[in-house]
Symmetry: none
DNA sequence: CACAGCCGTTAGTTTTTCTAAAGGCTGGTC
DNA sequence: GACCAGCCTTTAGAAAAACTAACGGCTGTG
């Protein structure tokens, strides 16, 4: 027996439900001619007449009724199974550094949840980049000097990483912007990247400076907000606080650093899932950052 | 959620069963590229990865396993329902004249049921041609001067209608074949078509003849078998009795009559049903009739 | 008789499905 | 390391299916 066109069964079930080709066509977003042709071809393929046609619509023949029962059961079975599978799939895990999470993502969480109301987002913070491959609904945002080379990943650069020195607006300081020499006379707040030390070493200044160290960039930034000194951090981490006037920038590295921020996601992303749209949204947010000074 | 392509599920189920795209393609009579594309599109539509691909074939992911289970259940449900429905449909109704039924069809019923062992045949005899359209599993055999003109029917000529005069082999007669003049001196048996009267009128002979009339051609033929006279009937109605030596032909009309025998069936015949094959068988039986004399 | 509402058909367009061909990857063998 | 077999993927183009728009027929109602 020639293979039944299973897609036609969906049309058949809708016609059977409504008893009316035109109404089924409306529901299915098809023309009534398409529905008519579909039913006709299905009848030819099956070798039975499924509907009696009349001026008040159609009614099922006995054979049609038996087809309808089986078809409804089968479609219900599939619908249930696939809705489940589809639903499970609107869950995305975002892997990123804890400071990026708290200083970049959290201030934008309202925007993200507004854009993707049905998204179930898991934010997993890490101190080191993931070593394993990303699953199909995972995104990672990570700094590095080269893009992600994992062949199962797709990768895109989000931004240069440019360092900026920030402090509380109330922090006593002579002028703005400051020269580096003046900066270094002030209490300096640095994170685990030891950015100040690297900066000082790079510029050749002396090393008798007051340094306060924190495990997390975010903590250093919070300390700066608290008036405890000058923090240096990537621009994207402090942008939101600058916008909110909790911080002011007092120096910016004229050269971007060697590192850039990358976003990676699995090549096995599939249609219907918002993962690529989330990637695009994040990309757009970075692109839309106002320039500092 | 975009509608799942149900036909692709059939492909998916076959790949899942074989764990191998190439083998599934072989079974489905598709190229391996077609199967690959089908699975890929299904994954995009569903938003999940269904298979892990490898050098030794494919294996289901957990989501794929869940899809497979639901798909197999649904396809099994449909297969069972539609195989049943297809089977029920081997019921054919044959409409024909009662004499054609008893004198042409009955002697061949063994051949027909041998050829179509699963056929459920209903023979409905009528004295007048059907006025309504034939249903999709109905065949009609009817004499006429023109083919069936009903636009929903298909029609084919089975045979010319040629009249033959027959009697019992034991019937007293001078010789064979007889001239018409001699014939007309004998008791003549005719049916409702009043074929003898028409024949006599057409040839211009006198009309003082002994005529026995019957409601049915078959009854006239049975009377001839009983030795009561000479019956005239279409060749196809007496062929079987001649073959069985119950009758002998003593005259045949040198010209075929204006009427021919036609077979009609519904244009809405559908694939998988034997109706066309039954029509062909009946056609072949008429074509295979041995010439009388 | 006119009209509304239904279904059916046709010709042509659009979309989907498929094939053929080319190519990449993995595991096994020599 | 080279080669091969067997697997899957992708692409371009052809074929088939699906669809639309338009036209038309039929039935029931007022």
């Amino acid at each position: 027996m020639k293979q039944i066109n299973l897609n036609a069964l969906r049309v058949f079930a809708m016609v059977a439900r409504h008893g009316n080709l035109q109404r089924a066509a409306d529901v299915l977003n098809l023309s009534r001619g398409a529905v008519s042709q579909r039913i006709k071809q299905l009848e030819l393929d099956l070798g039975v007449v499924l509907f009696l046609r009349g001026a008040q619509g159609v009614s099922l023949t006995p054979e049609g009724e038996r087809c309808r029962a089986a078809t409804d059961d089968a479609l219900a079975l599939l619908e249930t199974a696939f809705v489940d599978i589809g639903a499970v799939n609107d869950r995305v895990t975002l892997h990123l550094g804890s400071s990026t999470a708290s200083k970049w993502l959290m201030p934008r969480m309202d925007g993200l949840t507004t854009e993707f109301p049905k998204l179930s987002l898991t934010t997993q913070v890490h101190e080191q980049p993931l070593q394993r491959s990303l699953g199909r609904n995972e995104i990672a945002i990570w700094p590095g000097t080269t893009p992600d080379t994992n062949p199962t990943h797709q990768c895109r650069q989000l931004t240069d990483i440019r360092l900026v020195a920030v402090c509380s607006p109330d922090f006593p300081r002579s002028d703005r912007p400051m020269g580096l020499e003046t900066l270094l006379t002030l209490p300096l707040l640095q994170d685990a990247h030891r950015r100040w030390e690297k900066l000082i070493q790079a510029t050749g200044y002396g090393d008798t400076h007051k340094l306060l160290n924190f495990d997390r960039s975010a903590l250093a930034i919070e300390a700066a907000i608290g008036g405890h000194g000058i923090a240096v951090a990537p621009t994207y981490m402090v942008e939101a606080d600058i916008q909110s006037k909790r911080l002011v920038d007092v120096w910016i590295d004229p050269e971007p650093s060697e590192e850039r921020l990358f976003i990676s996601w699995s090549r096995e992303h599939v249609g219907g899932r918002p993962i690529r749209r989330i990637v695009d949204w994040i990309t757009d947010e970075f692109a839309a950052s106002p320039p500092i000074r």
